[in-house]
């Protein structure tokens, strides 16, 4: 709808276009409102949303494999697992240096724990091999020292590795970056070492191992590189390099010593690293283990989510878990079913109580209200344990039934450590969350409506069902949402009274967070639970309408 008689836009009193002026005023208002809620918003973001997001992120995070074994996973990418043969020598070479650095930084056992979730036995494989890595280098060092005892000397190595001519700073930067990734620390400071490009070209494995050593010594230990004796991995690197390097033409510092070592190296028995790992533990020659490493070398993985729905990620794709390990789908279903059962029993028990509360004279209603609120002032654990005393086979209820002769002494009822016990105890605990919204909604229903219905000839039932009940539905909705969402995440009560058939998915989440420490799987289960709740909330909104929910 444009005004054809006016050419320009409408102007405000100060001459700016009215539209812009209005927008500015509105923006200022919004900003002020935002500033007012900012403290709460930031508080919620920092203390609630961010930690939850951080936790849920763990369900896909998998950097640990590629951060701990960067070169190995790179070389391994070319290996074909389906041949069923163990990978070739270069993979074991890469593994040796990766694992050596990881063992120095004490990160290899973390990786072992991570991979053990996928392949049983990897945990001790990494731990025991981590202890044996030094031996190989020590043997080489002993042999080299017989030629020239300066080989065990930090200063000598520093001179040899520094070489002469142009320094390869890029190589050093790459190793420092890699160390940062491995340890997860910022590691400020300077290494004070860089190998010459000449020596890098001549002895690539040795310089790589020495660069790891130099970076770790300078940045993590805070020592001077030249004063420290190099790691055993450096000798392994040297021996590997000397198998093929042409050192005769090298003329840098300590060239003679290097040439002497090369000559002697022919007489020192060289053990290929594949043989070394096979001797350490024959599992290293197992293609299945390598296939697992390969499958889980991606930075992000769907593995945890697949585990959470009874599937698994194998080198050959997604497969169902073996029948005797499937539990999570069943637990999700059980959690749903039992939460619904608890919600309905809360409605059935809470509705009459709320009605009484709303319709009794104030003095009596207040007393009743205190009774409803009383459980809130008692510890949750005490209430749950009280149900144990009530329901167990030698408990109060069974004793009374036996005394009355309704149940034989040898045939007492089993009412706890099963679903029944969980439903009873949780209904009791969650009842106030149903009664309070119901009560506040019912208080708002004028009693005159019922009287009017009756005066128009409705029976008691019709008056209740056609007039009163529809008006109390928003209270039922609010109470049900509260009770259902609380129930679905409940943990301590099912743990205490649930036995084996009454436990929830949250008990498994708690187990993975605090006992098995598989936080990835715990996070995946939690994320699924959160998604299910949101989905149900959405469905409720579509079917009943969230506007119909009233808390008061």
């Amino acid at each position: 709808m444009s005004d054809t008689t006016q050419n320009g836009p409408m102007l405000a009193a100060d001459g700016t276009p009215l539209k812009r002026s209005l927008a500015r005023a509105l923006r200022r208002q919004k900003l002020r409102a935002l500033l007012l809620v900012a403290p709460l918003l930031i508080f919620v973001l920092v203390t609630f949303i961010a930690p939850i997001a951080d936790m849920l992120f763990r369900s896909v995070e998998n950097q640990i494999v590629s951060d701990t074994l960067p070169s190995t996973t790179e070389v391994l990418a070319d290996w074909e697992h389906s041949t069923g043969e163990s990978p070739p020598e270069p993979v074991y070479e890469a593994l040796y240096y990766d694992l050596f650095l990881a063992a120095e930084a004490k990160e290899h056992t973390k990786l072992g724990t991570r991979l053990n979730y996928e392949y049983t036995g990897v945990s001790s494989l990494f731990r025991s091999t981590g202890r044996g890595l030094d031996d190989l280098g020590d043997d080489y060092l002993d042999a080299l020292e017989e030629v020239d005892d300066r080989w065990g000397d930090g200063d000598f190595w520093y001179t040899l590795m520094s070489g002469s001519g142009e320094a390869d700073e890029d190589l050093m930067r790459a190793h420092v970056k890699r160390l940062r990734q491995l340890t997860g620390d910022a590691l400020p400071g300077k290494v004070g070492f860089a190998p010459s490009t000449e020596i890098v070209a001549l002895l690539p494995k040795t310089t790589a191992a020495y660069a790891d050593f130099a970076a770790y010594t300078a940045l993590v230990d805070g020592d001077v590189v030249a004063e420290e004796d190099p790691w055993e991995s450096v000798y392994v690197g040297l021996m590997t390099d000397l198998q093929g390097a042409d050192v005769a033409s090298y003329s840098g510092p300590e060239a003679e010593a290097l040439q002497a070592a090369a000559e002697a190296a022919a007489d020192i028995e060289y053990i290929p690293l594949k043989t070394f790992f096979g001797d350490e533990d024959e599992d290293w020659l197992n293609a299945d283990i390598w296939a697992t490493v390969q499958t889980y070398s991606t930075k992000y993985t769907s593995g945890y989510f697949l585990n959470a729905v009874d599937l698994q990620l194998t080198p050959d794709g997604i497969e169902a878990r073996p029948e005797n390990q499937r539990i999570y789908i069943m637990l999700f279903k059980r959690t749903m079913f039992m939460s619904l059962a608890i919600t309905f029993s809360c409605i059935a028990l809470g509705y009459p109580v709320a009605w009484l509360l709303a319709n009794l004279p104030a003095s009596k209603a207040n007393l009743l209200m205190i009774l409803v609120l009383l459980p809130f002032w008692t510890s949750l654990l005490v209430r749950t344990s009280a149900w144990k005393v009530m329901l167990q086979q030698q408990g109060v209820i069974n004793d009374v039934l036996v005394w009355l002769g309704l149940v034989a002494d040898g045939n007492r009822l089993v009412m706890i450590n099963n679903q029944f016990g969980t439903i009873v105890a949780m209904t009791h605990i969650l009842l106030p969350f149903m009664i309070l919204p119901l009560y506040s909604v019912m208080q708002g229903i004028p009693p005159s409506y019922l009287r009017a219905a009756k005066s128009l000839g409705a029976t008691n039932w019709t008056a209740f069902w056609r007039v009163y009940f529809p008006q109390s539905v928003p209270g039922i909705g609010a109470g049900s949402i509260l009770v259902f969402i609380l129930a679905i995440g409940y943990y301590i009560t099912p743990e205490i009274v649930g036995g084996t058939t009454g436990t929830f998915i949250s008990n498994r989440i708690a187990y993975h967070i605090s006992s098995s420490l598989n936080w990835g799987l715990g996070a995946a289960l939690g994320a699924i639970l959160l998604a299910v709740v949101l989905l149900l909330y959405w469905a409720y909104d579509r079917i009943v309408g969230i506007d119909n929910v009233k808390l008061g």
Partner: protein, 366 residues
Amino acid sequence: MKLTQTLLAGSALALVAGAATAQDLTLVSWGGAYQTSQQKAYVEPYLENNPGASVTWDESSAEAVAKLRAMNEAGNVTWDLVDVVASDAIRLCDEGLAMEYDPEELLAEGDDGTSAEDDFGDLIVSDCFIPQIVYSTTFGYRTDMVPEGVDAPTDVCAVFDLETYPGKRSLEKRPINNMEWALYCDGVAKDEIYDVLATPEGQDQALAKLDTIKDDVIWWSAGADTPQLLADGEVFMGSTYNGRLFSVIVEQDQPVGMLWDMQVFDLDGWIIPAGLSDEKLAEVEEFVKFATDTQRLADQAAYISYGPARLSSAPLVGQHADLGIEMAPHMPTDPENAKNTLLYNYEFWADYRDDIDAKFQAWLAQ
């Protein structure tokens, strides 16, 4: 994520900085009778010798690994010394959350002059673990519920013998120990248990044996459950820690008997969290040296029936502090009690825990 961590850590630090004093140690333990025994045997004497010091207890040992990991990620470890079982110590050491130590330097010599390393022997199961006590998981049974004309059980396989010993049993809701007992009672030789349990067939065999009593088992998850179930007469027999049974039998005088056969030995001890400041570390080291010396570990046995981890402490174990009875016969390590025992296999369970647990839980839920 880094930003929030920094923010969280920063605000937490600001809060803590005001409260912490130079000589305050935060010790983490299990609560209950065990923590009391530590308090009486070494914390109180230590505080007497060091008037400036103070100790704060945190009863979080059951979730120590998870909490320590979370604290470490937030960059703010508030604990100084943590009491954990050996398997948790191994995990903490694996994760780099616990400090490796040198027994010769950190720990005191035995009072008979043996070096700390020899005195603790192979109980130092991890480079980070400072052993305190040997405890065992074993069975207790109601003496008044033993059927007439039948002898009281002396064999762990009574657990699986529903005909001779009818009644409910309580077992821990996890595979560890239960699988071993099941295989043992299914005829597997003791030294082959772990070889068998490493195979899927062996795991099925153990579960099949447990299946025979499944309907009569109440599964416990807290150490206090079995003593309570026994006291209430809910179960005929149940597994729990020997110290808990001691207090049911001797201190509370309940009609409960001990079944020491095939008790599973386990260890409990301290770990020092990684990354303490030098000043703090010096304090912690001073305390640990005192708290794990020969006399202190022997003293602890006067309050709770767990065996001291030092060889040199054993001869010094005396009488119960309140009841005045000799404690030695109630120790799991007493030769009379330790005729047939099993040692918790840390290496095996570190590897197989996830796998077997998944099967065990699926079996439980069936």
